[in-house]
Structure formats: C-alpha cells, structure tokens
C-alpha cells in the first residue's frame, strides 16, 4: 500500500466540533479483476458551520466519498480502513435503522442530476411530506406548510400550488432548487452537495451558489460541496480539499489554496481554469496524461506520471502530508526540506 500513516491534519484540531470527521479512510471496490482502491488514506474534516469544497476531476473518488458519508455506496464497495464520524457518531457499521434516523434529518444530500433524482410519479409536495415522516407530532397540513415555506425560501414562486406539481413540470434550475429545499427541509447539520450545478448552465449555477450561501447563513448548518469547478469552489467555500485519484493531495483555507497552492496538481488545476487564464494563446493549458489505474496503484506519488516537477524520489516513495501554513497541508516531496535526491 502506498504511503505511511498520514500526519494529523492541523485544521482538524478541535475534532469535537467537527460535523464530519474522516480519518485515514480507505475504500475498495471488489471487482472480478480484483480490488479497485478508490480511496486511500483520505482525511478531511468539515468544521461546524463551515462550507468545505471537495474538488477533483472525474474518477478522483469524490462521489464515492460523498456516498460513503451517507452510507449509500454501491454493493461491492467496502471500507477497509479508517474512521468516518458524523457529529461523534461512528458511521461505520451503523445499522439500517440508525441510518434511517439520520439520513434526510441530520445529514442530507443533493445529487447531481435533478432530472432523474426526483420521483417522477409523485408530486413534490408528497415527496416533501414523505421526508417529514419522522415528525410524528405534525399534522399533514403542518408538514405541507413547512414544505411550502422552504420552497418559498429557495425562490419557487407560488409554492402552495407548486406542491401539487410533478418534477417533470419544472425546469432544471427549479428542480435543483426543489432538491435543495428537500435537503434543507429538516434543517440538517450537514448538507452534502454532489456537483449540484454541473448539469446547469452558468447563470443558473450562479443563482444556486448564491442561494446556498444565503441559506447556509440562515440555517447555520455545514455544507460539503463537491465539484470539479474551481471558480464555484472559490466563491462558495471556506476550506478546500483537493482530491486526486483517491488521495487528498492538498487541503487548506480557500485563500491559501488559491493564492499559494503548493501541490503541483493544484497548481496545474488552477492554471487550467479558463477563468484564470491571463495569457491569451492558441492552446488551452491541460494536464497531460490520464488518471492512473486504481487496480494497481503504482508505488510512489500517485501524481508522479503527470507531474511537471517530477524527480526520482517521487516514483519510489509516496509523500506524506506536510504542513504549509495554518490549516494548510499538501502531500508532496517538494515540501520536504530534505527533498530532492
């Protein structure tokens, strides 16, 4: 296995008040060809009341992490090491009843595709009332009112009437607002948003981001925001976690990450972001190469095959987390004073 035990991430101090505390988490997928090491020694924390952005390209494992935090991973996925804690509750080995108690109530999720993630044959009012089933003292009328209120809050006009409508009667942007409304209905401590704006155009995206920021202020919960879009992460998040091929390569406060990125991958990502390109040239900068095959993770740094600042040590020895600044750490040999060979 790559890498030694990771150092405690500085920003995770005060773990007692972390809504989500992931330490050294490793997840494998069992496949006919052998185990695919989807996540390896991932550590991150979502402090109470903050917005943490999880950024990574396709295949980096960000959705797997989100689903793990909800206990919704697919059948062949297995947590083989590490801990996953929500508000002090150990999520590993939680019973189905215990999961049902917290899902939708203390942890909620907003999915990427608003087209398919809502029940097409049930009105949104019914679906929103379904979510409130744990509140046994409330009359249906009360539940309905609560649903209408939050619909209004997310910007759906004439909410009372819209409750009777079905998902396909709404546009994509509206549907995602409804999904967010459903997610926040029970005022959860943590909202996990798995690429909620990827399927939307830029105008809608901006609206949704704005909405999330406002709502979080109001409701006081935390958000784990997953995206591959750096611009959105920069706008919304307090803390950024950069995921590459199943490993956290860098994490820290948003300003630090964007102004002083230390990991070559983060640097390359920032360079590639079209919004930040100041040099007008014919070629768009890209990161050459592909994400590695996670069936057989190569020894050494996982980013080595594509790293522009590669040197010999990178290929043989996996780097460990190194502190760069307050709350900022990255996993790269360049940061190791003893460094190059």
């Amino acid at each position: 296995m790559t890498g030694a035990k990771v150092q405690a991430f500085p920003a995770a101090a005060g773990a007692a008040d972390d809504v989500l505390d992931i330490r050294d988490l490793s997840i494998d997928f069992r496949t006919p060809k052998g185990p695919v090491h989807a996540l390896r020694h991932v550590s991150l924390a979502v402090p109470r009341g903050s917005i943490v952005g999880l950024v990574g390209e396709s295949g980096s494992g960000k959705s797997t992490l989100a689903l793990a935090a909800m206990g919704l991973m697919q059948g062949n996925a297995e947590i083989i090491d590490g801990s996953l804690q929500f508000s002090g509750i150990d999520l590993r080995g939680l019973s189905p009843e215990a999961w049902r108690a917290i899902r939708g109530k203390r942890i909620s999720m907003v999915f990427q595709d608003p087209m398919t993630s809502l029940n097409p044959v049930r009105s949104i009012g019914q679906q929103m009332m379904d979510i409130q089933y744990r509140d046994r003292s409330a009359w249906p009328a009360q539940r309905r009112r609560k649903a209408a209120e939050i619909l209004k809050r997310v910007g759906i006009p004439d909410p009372e009437r819209q409750l009777n409508r079905h998902p396909h009667e709404f546009s994509g942007g509206m549907r995602q607002r409804i999904a967010i409304a459903m997610g926040l209905l029970e005022k959860p401590e943590l909202l996990i948003a798995d690429e909620p704006t990827t399927a939307l155009d830029v105008t809608l995206e901006a609206q949704i981001i704005h909405l999330l920021r406002e709502l979080r202020q109001e409701f006081g919960g935390s958000i784990l925001f997953i995206s591959h879009n750096l611009g959105v992460i920069a706008e919304l998040c307090d803390i950024v976690v950069v995921l590459y091929a199943g490993e956290v390569v860098e994490q820290g406060p948003v300003r630090e990450i964007f102004h002083r990125p230390k990991h070559p991958y983060t640097q390359a990502l920032l360079e590639c972001d079209p919004a930040r390109i100041d040099l007008i040239s014919r070629d768009l900068p890209t990161i050459p190469g592909d994400v590695p095959n996670l069936l057989q993770v190569p020894p050494g740094c996982v980013f080595a095959p594509r790293c522009p600042k590669l040197f010999d040590r990178c290929r043989v020895e996996a780097p460990t987390d190194r502190a760069v600044g307050p709350g900022h750490a990255a996993r790269c040999h360049l940061l190791d004073g003893a460094g190059r060979e």
């Binding site: 919704l72 917290i102 899902r103 909620s108 993630s117 097409p120 044959v121 009105s123 979510i131």
Partner: protein, 314 residues
C-alpha cells in the same frame, strides 16, 4: 388527451371492422352454403331456400357485409335461426359469466404474482426468488386446460372439495363463489408466473434508478420506497401487458367453461360451432374480438392516468 382517446378508439374500431370483414369473408368463402351445412342433407330445397332467405344469404355478399356491419354498429348481431332469439341477447346472457371468470382468474394471479415478483426483485437470488423463477416458467408453459382437467380430477372428483359442474345457483353468492374457485384457478395459474417475471424485471430496473437512491438518501422507510418509489413505476408496463393478457384469458376461459360446464362465451362458441350455428358463432366471436381490441386502448388510458408524465404530455 381527448384527441389521443379518439385516435385510439378509432383504431380499435378499424381493427374490429377489418376482423369482422375477415370473418364474414371466411364464412362465405367456404364451399357449401351455411343452410345446407346447418340443416344437413335431409333438407329439401324449399327449406334450404327459406333458411337462406331468413339468414339474408340470398343477397350478394358485399351487401350482406355492409348490412351486417351496419347492424353490428347498433348492437344488432343478428338472429339465431334455431331459437329465433337475437344473438345479442344470447351473447349478453353468457358474457357476464365469462367476464367474472377471467377477472377472478386474473385477479388472483395478480394478487399472488405481483408481490412474488416484487419480493424476488428485492431479495434477489434468495430461495424464494429462485423458486419463483422455476415455478414461473413451469406454470407459464403448462397448458391451462390440462391444469383445469387435473384440478377437476383431484379437487372435485377425488377429494370432493369443490363442485364439478356449472356456475352455481342463481342468487346464491356463496354457491357461485364455490363454483368459481377451480375454474378461476385454472385460468389464472399461467399468469401468476408471467406477472411475477415481468414485475421482477421491471422492479430490478426501477430499483437501480436515481430517484430510489435519493429516497434512501432521505432515510425513507423501505416499504414506502418499494411501494411508492419503485413499484408505482414498475407496474406501468405490467398494466399494458395485462391488456394483452385478455386474449389469452379468453382462450383459457373457453377451456375452463367447457371442462367445468360453466355458461359463458367460450362454451357458447364451442357448442354453436359444433352444430354449425353460424350466426351465433359469428356474434360471439365478434364480441370477444371487440373485447380484446378495446382492452388495449383502455389499458393505455389507465397507464396515462397513473403516470403523470404521460398525462402532461397528452
């Protein structure tokens, strides 16, 4: 929605008319006039001619067809030359028995088959799933009349649990229900397996879809998810298939009515066919065709009504 309704009904009417024409043509293409065949060789030419005239067979065939279609549109299916009663009346006397039989047969098949299919999908590869799979294939392939005969043999004759013949005393509901048990069992048995398989396949597909994952993400209780988030959608293609089932059910009813000596359209057709009573055969067969031809648009409407997406699109 209304336009769609009219279109589908129009298509069914067209199919019925074509079917009627085919039937009519078939009857008239065969060698030997119906009168001779019905009366036998002992009929004198005058009797034959009178019968022909009564049945309207002395007119040119196209005119006969048009007259027949016209009358059929108003519900007049002709007159039974033997009993002089209207064919329509005879058919209406027998139709309810058949309808009750096929509805009960389908009913119990759905009550058993749909939950079995559902359970098989949720607990894949469990013993019940595998068992249901084998039984499904078995019951689908075994001919329904063999089931009926064996059921009659074991439960009625050998064990004496159920009555052997008839539909029961009129007005005595319990007696009639008792008479209904074995025939509807025989009619429905094949459909249990069929429904179980379809529902299982449909459910497996739907359970893997995103909105079911979302429902889980909101911690909804499993029964609610299965019922309202999965089955509610999975059942839609089943409804369409149930309409197609009407044809098979009518065929099974023919056997069941014959074997259990129950009144009904099936028995009517067989008995009339045996004595070459063409008007009755024609009228009864056309009724079954109409039933089948209209069952499909009706099923499509039920689906449209159940599925808000289709409702909006129309």
């Amino acid at each position: 929605m209304l336009v769609y309704l009219l279109q589908r009904i129009g298509l069914s009417i067209l199919i019925c008319v074509t079917a009627m024409t085919l039937l009519f043509a078939a009857i008239h293409v065969i060698p030997g006039d119906p009168a001779t065949i019905m009366l036998g060789t002992r009929a004198t030419p005058e009797v034959r001619e009178r019968l022909n005239k009564e049945m309207g067979l002395d007119q040119p065939v196209p005119i006969q067809l048009v007259k027949f279609l016209g009358r059929a549109a108003t519900g007049n299916l002709g007159v039974d030359v033997w009993s002089k009663r209207s064919v329509g009346t005879i058919v209406m006397e027998n139709l309810p028995y058949t309808l009750i039989l096929i509805l009960t047969g389908l009913g119990w098949a759905a009550l058993v088959g749909i939950p079995l299919g559902c359970y098989s999908a949720i607990r894949r590869n469990s013993f019940i799933d595998k068992f249901t799979g084998v039984i499904s294939v078995g019951t689908i392939s075994i001919p329904s009349f063999v089931v009926a005969i064996y059921a009659l043999l074991f439960f009625s004759i050998q064990l004496g649990l159920f009555p052997v013949i008839g539909a029961g005393e009129r007005g005595d509901l319990e007696d009639q229900l008792w008479h209904l048990v074995l025939p509807s069992f025989a009619v429905g048995l094949g459909w249990v397996g069929y429904l179980a398989r379809i529902v299982r396949a449909s459910m497996l597909e739907v359970m893997g879809e995103n909105h079911v994952r979302t429902a889980r993400a909101f911690g909804l209780p499993e029964p609610k998810i299965v019922l309202h988030y999965a089955l509610r959608i999975a059942i839609l293609p089943t409804v369409t298939l149930l309409a197609l089932a009407i044809g098979g059910l009518l065929s099974s009813a023919v056997f069941a009515e014959n074997i259990f000596a129950r009144p009904g359209i099936g028995k009517l057709i067989v008995d009339s066919a045996n004595v070459r009573n063409y008007p009755v055969v024609q009228g009864a067969v056309m009724t079954t065709v109409a039933l089948f031809a209209f069952a499909m648009p009706i099923a499509d409407f039920i689906v449209a009504w159940l599925d808000p997406r289709v409702r909006s699109a129309l």
